[in-house]
């Protein structure tokens, strides 16, 4: 197992492959830009000044390190030791800023004056709009029209930060289509534009770059749990849409074979309803947005219409490294329905005074499924990937709160 896990850290290979997953399935026009990004990133990694600048901003602007919080009353409820990695306390309210910050520094190194991004829940869009404001860079964010409605608060935030939000009406008008439009923009404006992808998806080198920038979460959590408990956790749990917060917290634990990694996908109205977005649980191998991975698709290879109460998880694909980790057995992927997520959200609010994002609520809700196997000695870390303010409209409607 040690040998097998040691290999994870070496992936992707130079073609951007995680086993059969990953790669670069994009129009020719983008290949030189991906090569340029690969080189710029490799140079940045070798440059101590880059890491120092990034660390400085992560500390003073984002507010890192985020706490690893012992959730006492939640622990009492489940009879285990539950810790929350408080990414919701990051500036802008979610882990997305870790990657946005790293990538804007890369864009500056490459001399690209214009930034574009896609966003689902709006957390990545807000993070990108934020760093663009911070560094004085032009910013355009593509967002599915349906998402602009269910995440209206984040649209307002992006606009206030000076970004242009472009509603996308094509296809299903959600994250998948916003990503298509962002790629089309990039193909068109590739010479002066850097595309900040928000998750561990897309063509190589994006899944690697986003993972690396997000892995600050897991590096901190690993040190913090050793300080607090003197040992590694039994479980690390995170929600998975594209999979960036999960990859960020999983990656530094990959070589710790005894740590169980659990990714929680969105089962929507149920895996049998057809209305879900759980490609790792119920999808098949496919190619979308530049990489091969598990994909929700129909019998003709057309990308399926997905559903989740959580805009950030409402995506038919998933990062290629998750696909690889699933097949290799290093991580396990499970799913939680809309209703279960709403219960998880309320439980965390009632028990800990923390209103988390609907995405995060999927990870919290999985505790209920684990209840029978938990003991007072079991140590779990849940990645509390984001705060829930943006979801209040959805939650109010779903729970009929007034």
């Amino acid at each position: 197992m040690t040998t097998a896990t040691a290999e994870y850290a070496l992936l992707p290979d130079e073609r951007g492959r995680f086993g059969v997953y990953g790669g670069r399935f994009v129009p020719e026009t983008l290949i030189p830009a991906l090569d340029e990004l690969t080189l710029a990133y490799a140079a940045a990694q070798q440059d101590p000044a880059f890491q120092k600048e990034l660390d400085g901003h992560l500390k003073d602007y984002v507010g890192r390190a985020t706490p690893l919080y012992y959730a006492e009353r939640l622990s009492d409820e489940y009879g285990a030791k539950i810790y929350l990695k408080r990414e919701d306390l990051c500036h802008t309210g979610a882990h997305k800023i870790n990657n946005a910050l790293g990538q804007i520094l890369l864009a500056r190194r490459m001399g690209k004056p214009r930034i574009i991004a896609e966003t689902g829940a709006g957390q990545h869009g807000v993070a990108v709009a934020t760093v663009c404001a911070r560094f004085g860079v032009e910013c355009e964010v593509y967002m599915g029209e349906e998402d602009t409605q269910r995440q209206a608060l984040n649209v307002a935030r992006m606009k206030l930060l000076g970004a242009r939000v472009i509603p996308v009406t094509s296809g299903t008008a959600t994250l998948k289509d916003a990503t298509n439009e962002a790629i089309r923009d990039w193909v068109t404006n590739v010479r002066n534009t850097h595309y900040i992808i928000g998750s561990v998806v897309g063509p190589h080198p994006y899944p690697m770059i986003v993972r690396d920038f997000q892995s600050v979460i897991g590096r901190e959590a690993r040190v913090q749990i050793l300080e607090k408990e003197g040992r590694l956790p039994d479980y690390v749990i995170a929600c998975v849409g594209g999979g960036s917060n999960a990859m960020g917290i999983f990656y530094p634990f990959l070589n710790d074979g005894a740590v169980n990694l659990l990714g929680v996908e969105a089962a929507g109205e149920g895996l049998n309803s057809g209305k879900h977005c759980a490609p790792l649980t119920a999808g098949t191998l496919g190619v979308l947005h530049g990489s091969a991975s598990y994909l929700m698709q129909d019998s003709d290879g057309q990308v399926a219409v997905t559903h989740s109460i959580s805009a950030g998880l409402d995506y038919p694909g998933v990062g290629p490294e998750h696909a690889w980790m699933k097949d290799a057995g290093r991580a396990k992927y499970v799913s939680i329905t809309d209703n279960e997520a709403l219960e998880g959200l309320q439980k965390l609010a009632h028990r800990e005074g923390i209103i988390c994002a609907l995405e995060t609520a999927h990870a919290v809700a999985y505790l209920e499924k684990m209840r029978p196997q938990l003991t007072p000695e079991t140590i779990l870390i849940i990645n509390c990937s984001g705060r829930g303010d943006k979801d209040m409209n959805t939650v109010v409607q779903s729970l009929e709160l007034t």
């Binding site: 670069r24 994009v26 129009p27 026009t29 094509s170 496919g286 947005h289 003709d300």
Partner: protein
Amino acid sequence: MSRLSEHFAALRSRNEKALVCFVTAGDPNPDATVALVETLAKAGADCVEIGIPFSDPLADGPSIQASSQRALEQGMTVRKSLEVIRRIRARVPDLPLIPMTYYNPIRHFGLTEYARQAKEAGADGHIVTDLTPEEAEEWKRICIAEGLDTIFLLAPTSTTARIEIVTALSDGFVYCVSRTGVTGLRDDIPAELRDVVTNIKAYTDKPVFVGFGISRPEHVERIVAFADGVVVGTSLVNLIHKERDNPDLLEIVYQYVASLKAATR
């Protein structure tokens, strides 16, 4: 020599440039697609790309996206697209036919089985928009085994190293994208295009065709001054959609395509 290579060599010996047309299989319906391609051939098209629709066509602009969506909503599938190609082939035995699609639908179908059926239906070669040579190893091998051409694309951003790879691996012709961007109508021809094409031609004797944003005879005339042919897609797709209920649809398409073809001579 493949039908594509033979056909374009014959054009070259007549000192004539190529007109390649694009239509989406099944938009507005399969019968119409068959009749339209036959009309394109009569009007002088030298080759027709048959779009096999995909739900997420990220290299296409709004017109072809919408066309793909309409075809899918009509129940178009990869299998039915191949059936359309089979029917077209029966009507136009000698016209080079190139299915154009994205990787996921054919990968999902099964590359080997897809290639076998495409060949049997009468396809000559393929353009898979999101499959660059680096990712196309298996696909290329399968196509060689089936006797199908694979056409790869170059863009204004392509480096010398990539021009060498793509010109070496592309069969029949090399598809040069006229500008950074997706398919769709443009008023002008980019100033840099002549240099881009001239540079590519320094690396290959294969014909170099230019596509994306070409819609008018005057565009064609200007481009064939330095390229070996043009690809016209969006304007044709738009015209077909606009006139889909007009009883004179085929005549209107014929006139339009004949005017484009005249500009290649």
